[in-house]
C-alpha cells in the first residue's frame, strides 16, 4: 500500500468536511436538550476527573456552556465555563492570520505564534483549575 500516494490525493484533502456530520448531530442534540434541567433524561456524560476525584477541572461545565451558547445566553455560558473566551480569541486570531496572510500580507499578525500569549494561556487555565476548586465566597462563582 502506497500511503504517500493516498495522502497526496486531491479529494482526500476535503475529507475533513466529513467531520461536519457528527458535529451537526451534536449541535442539534445540545440545542434541544438542556444538561442543567435534564434529570435522567438524555445522555450527558460526566467528566472522568470529576467522577474520580470530585474536583472541578477547567473543562467542567462545558456541556451547559455549549447549550447556553447555542441559545445565545452568553452571560450564563461564561458562568459555567470561561475557557470559551480563550477559544473564541484563538479562533478569531487564527482566522485573521489566515486571511491577512492571503489578502493583505502587510498587516499580517499571528497572535498564536507569540510565546507570551501561549504562556498566558497556560497560567490562565491552571489558575482557573485551582481557583474554581476553592470553596470560599469569591471563588464559588467560578465553579460550574
Amino acid at each position: 500500500m502506497d500511503f504517500k500516494k493516498i495522502k497526496s490525493s486531491k479529494y482526500l484533502k476535503y475529507g475533513y468536511l466529513l467531520l461536519g456530520i457528527p458535529i451537526f448531530f451534536l449541535v442539534t442534540y445540545y440545542y434541544n436538550n438542556d444538561p442543567e434541567a435534564a434529570n435522567g433524561e438524555g445522555f450527558f456524560p460526566r467528566c472522568f476527573f470529576n467522577v474520580i476525584t470530585g474536583l472541578h477541572c477547567p473543562g467542567c461545565g462545558s456541556q451547559r456552556a455549549t447549550h447556553d451558547l447555542l441559545h445565545l445566553r452568553i452571560g450564563q455560558a461564561l458562568k459555567h465555563n470561561i475557557v470559551i473566551v480563550i477559544l473564541a480569541i484563538l479562533i478569531i486570531s487564527k482566522a485573521y492570520a489566515l486571511l491577512s496572510k492571503k489578502y493583505f500580507p502587510k498587516y499580517y499578525y499571528n497572535l498564536g505564534h507569540k510565546s507570551y500569549f501561549t504562556y498566558g494561556i497556560i497560567i490562565i487555565v491552571l489558575g482557573y483549575w485551582i481557583l474554581r476548586n476553592i470553596p470560599y465566597e469569591p471563588f464559588t462563582h467560578l465553579a460550574p
Partner: protein, 122 residues
C-alpha cells in the same frame, strides 16, 4: 556572541556552539530555517474544553514550548514539541470519544434492560 544586522536580516554568531543563528522569519532563500511548525493550540484548548483535561493541559504546555523554542532559535525542538502537542491533543480527543461511546453502549444496554424487565424507567 557576535551579531550584526542588515535592513532585512539579522544574524547572530554563537561562537561557543560554532553555529550561525538566523533571527526573524527569513524569506525562502535561506536554506537553514525550516518551515514553521503548527503549534496545535486550538486542538489543545478544544481537548481541554471537552472531556480530557489532563492530556489537554499537557498539549497546551507543549504548544507553548513550540513558540518559545522557535523564538529562541531551537527549530528541531520546536518541531518535536509540535508533534508532541498534536499527539497528546489527539489522544485526548479520540480517547475521550471512544470512552464516551463505550459508556453510551453500557447506558443503552441498561435502558433496554430496564424497559424489557418492565421497570419504572426514569
Amino acid at each position: 556572541m557576535l551579531s550584526f544586522s542588515e535592513s532585512k536580516y539579522s544574524f547572530k554568531l554563537d561562537v561557543h556552539k560554532l553555529k550561525l543563528i538566523t533571527m526573524e522569519n527569513q524569506p525562502t532563500s535561506s536554506g537553514q530555517v525550516p518551515e514553521r511548525p503548527n503549534n496545535y493550540l486550538i486542538l489543545a484548548i478544544v481537548t481541554t474544553f471537552l472531556c480530557c483535561n489532563i492530556t489537554g493541559v499537557v498539549s497546551i504546555v507543549y504548544a507553548a514550548q513550540v513558540n518559545a523554542k522557535w523564538e529562541g532559535g531551537n527549530y528541531e525542538g520546536a518541531i518535536s514539541d509540535s508533534k508532541n502537542a498534536k499527539l497528546w491533543g489527539l489522544i485526548g480527543l479520540i480517547g475521550g470519544a471512544v470512552l464516551m461511546g463505550i459508556i453510551f453502549l453500557f447506558y443503552g444496554a441498561m435502558i433496554a434492560a430496564a424497559i424489557s424487565s418492565g421497570g419504572s424507567g426514569f
